[in-house]
């Protein structure tokens, strides 16, 4: 595949997620940002809802959201993989689940974005075209030798967001494949092979609240054809997708260099739109973790979000701010946000103008 293909469609921004950080959201992208707080406070909960198509223009309009950052994000993924190939791993028994995911992504992309992607099938002989990335691939479904990478790596190099695949057995889920280059400080190489409770061990409070027991029970019964979604969020300094433990020395110190003058541009709310999908042939569960970044300066352009975000951060338990890695800058963030909170009530739900 050729990632240096020219950006033919001006919809896709040419930008970077490291170095000069030229990543920006267009005004349109700000408006459709998936602001994850339906209320003025936040605590962990089993927040899952059916993953059904939502408002036109929103990130819920399509099964998978392909946005203006697509091409640059895929280029960033290739860069990270080049430095550290272990960001993509798939244990041998997960290959079938990889094919399941490849089929799902190709079908949904082609159905939802026919001007960019197309898939034609003649039995197991498939033809895939990805115009934004300049890819034209003929291959045989379920025959690995006909693709340049394994099916899981092949397709997740062409889809925004991290992906993990969980095998289901012994009444548990096991994380046994992943493409993880835009993660909020966790390591696939460390977690691979763990079960649901093991990989969630570092999370504070939620275990005692029974959240993981309930979530696991729900997921074990997740049905084909009825995917669900949830949000998670954290804070990131500079629009860096790859906030990995492996590279912590490179990005951790950036937290100490933020000032009241630069905080509006540099501090980003990082939102993960996570979906949980039962795959057909393998019975595995796929977990796409789609990351969206918005600077505080852009966030406060929506008055409802500005007021609410201030209240959420103000009321957040210190355990969560510590776990999410921004306890040090919490006072500075609050000081910045307080200027946009006049105390007026906010309407329920996360849409900016409702």
């Amino acid at each position: 595949m050729s990632l240096d293909a020219p950006f033919k469609d001006p919809f896709f921004r040419d930008e970077s997620f490291f170095g000069d950080y030229s990543y920006r959201n267009s005004p349109h992208a700000v408006k459709r940002f998936p602001f994850p707080f339906p209320e003025d406070d936040y605590m962990y909960s089993v927040n899952m809802e059916p993953h059904v198509k939502g408002r036109p223009g929103s990130v819920f309009e399509h099964y998978f959201d392909v946005d203006e950052h697509y091409v640059s994000e895929m280029r960033d993924r290739a860069r990270v993989l080049e430095q550290d190939p272990l960001r993509c791993q798939s244990l041998p028994h997960m290959t079938l689940a990889g094919w399941d995911l490849l089929e799902l992504i190709m079908e949904k992309f082609a159905e939802d974005y026919p001007h960019w992607f197309s898939l034609t099938k003649d039995g197991n002989r498939w033809h895939w075209i990805n115009r934004p990335l300049g890819i034209d691939q003929k291959f045989t479904f379920l025959d690995e030798s006909t693709l340049p990478y394994g099916p899981f790596e092949y397709i997740t190099r062409q889809a925004q967001g991290d992906f993990t695949l969980q095998d289901q057995r012994e009444d548990n889920l096991w994380i046994e494949a992943g493409m993880v280059t835009s993660q909020a400080d966790w390591s696939l190489d460390f977690d691979i092979g763990m079960n649901f409770h093991e990989w969630h061990a570092p999370v504070p409070l939620a275990h005692q609240m029974g959240i993981f027991d309930r979530a696991l029970k729900f997921l074990l019964a997740l049905q084909y054809g009825a995917p669900v979604r949830r949000f998670n969020w954290t804070m990131t300094v500079d629009p860096l997708l790859d906030t990995s433990p492996e590279n912590y020395p490179k990005w951790g110190p950036s937290k100490t260099t933020m000032t009241p003058e630069t905080i509006g541009q540099r501090q980003h709310l990082r939102v993960e739109l996570q979906t949980l999908i039962r795959l057909p042939r393998s019975n595995a569960i796929c977990f796409p973790i789609r990351c969206y970044l918005i600077s505080l300066d852009d966030l406060v352009t929506q008055p409802k979000w500005a007021r609410r975000f201030h209240r959420v951060i103000r009321g957040l338990p210190d355990e969560l701010a510590t776990y999410k890695g921004f306890i040090r800058n919490k006072p500075m963030i609050l000081e910045y946000l307080a200027r946009f909170d006049d105390g007026a009530p906010t309407s329920p739900g996360w849409w900016p103008e409702d």
Partner: protein, 320 residues
């Protein structure tokens, strides 16, 4: 269950396989492709049996790679509640039905170095799909299939023709029995064992393997109970205050559904745990038929599985 997890289908074939078993083929009413599925999965078939709505789970036996249709086999149970009788007598080619998307509670462990399968009678059906899938993946497997006689050994001859040495058949009438101890002793390390068949067979296979030191994670079994018939009883729902009568050939889950309550379920056979309900009060005896609750939970009368279990006594109140 939501609409996304159900499909409208047309029955395209009904085949009498032997004196007890019929095979049914379903294709989608809209002509679309069926979703792929994993070997061991079942579908829940909805039936309108003279005004009684029955939902029975049947293992998918067609090739998971065949997206043109799904096939199941149904063994007639003359003394049962009528679900299988309805399938045998009432379902004809051309009929429209509703079935669920596939659900797998008997999945293959694809880490296995070898898959050793033991089937009894109609318990063969999930293995037919599993073997097709394993064969196309190039995995190593072997199936031991016991039935009363050659006639009741449904699909035995075809499977032998397809899989040759990997298939072993045993007929009760000819006093042939699986030499289980020897079989388990001679398996390579990393073998997984799967059993599906009558309750007695499952118990025998699992306990033999456990005694011989097989790891729990390498043992897989599936037994669907048909909801047993029994005496009528009444259940009270504490949250809504409603009382619901459960008929003699109806399960409590079916009675809840008939009353318009959207109760959770997956297997409808006492195996998956989805329908588990807290019991607020039970003055009388809970007839626990499931294999989900622990013996302690059963004895304490704190929980009940409405898909199969019944009640005999003065008053049953559940948290629903």
């Amino acid at each position: 269950m939501s609409n996304q997890t159900r499909m409208n289908v047309t029955v395209t074939e009904v085949v009498e396989v032997n004196s007890l078993i019929k095979r049914f083929r379903f294709v989608r009413e809209d002509g679309g492709a069926m979703p792929g599925f994993s070997g061991g999965a079942h579908t829940v078939v909805e039936m309108d049996d003279n005004g009684t709505r029955r939902l029975n789970a049947y293992s998918l036996m067609s090739d998971p790679a065949d997206s043109s249709g799904y096939e199941i086999s149904v063994r007639r149970d003359d003394s049962g509640r009528g679900g299988s009788l309805f399938m045998h007598k009432g379902v004809k080619p051309g009929m429209k039905m509703v079935i669920s998307q596939p659900v797998n509670l008997f999945g293959l462990d694809l880490r296995a170095r070898k898959h050793l399968m033991i089937a009894g009678g109609i318990g063969i059906t999930p293995f037919i799909a599993q073997m097709a899938q394993l064969d196309s993946l190039g995995h190593r497997f072997e199936l031991h299939y016991a039935a009363r006689d050659a006639d009741l050994c449904a699909y035995g001859a075809e499977l032998s023709a397809r899989y040759g040495e990997r298939l072993h058949r045993y007929y009760d009438v000819e006093k042939q029995a699986i030499d289980l101890a020897n079989l388990l002793k001679t398996q390579p390390i990393g073998t997984h064992l799967y059993v599906c068949g009558p309750k007695g067979m499952i118990g025998w296979v699992l306990s033999t393997a456990q005694k011989m030191g097989w790891p729990k994670g390498a043992l897989h079994s599936e037994e669907f109970l048909a909801p047993p018939v029994g005496e009528a009883f009444t259940v009270q729902l504490s949250r809504s205050g409603v009382s619901i009568d459960v008929g003699p050939t109806q399960s409590m889950l079916e009675a809840l559904e008939a009353a318009g309550i959207d109760a959770p379920y997956l297997c409808r056979g006492g195996a998956c745990g989805q329908c588990e309900c807290k019991v607020d009060a039970a003055e009388g005896e809970i007839l626990h038929y499931d294999h989900w609750l622990s013996d302690d939970q059963k004895a304490a009368k704190t929980h009940i599985m409405p898909c199969v279990s019944r009640f005999k006594g003065e008053r049953l109140v559940i948290d629903l």
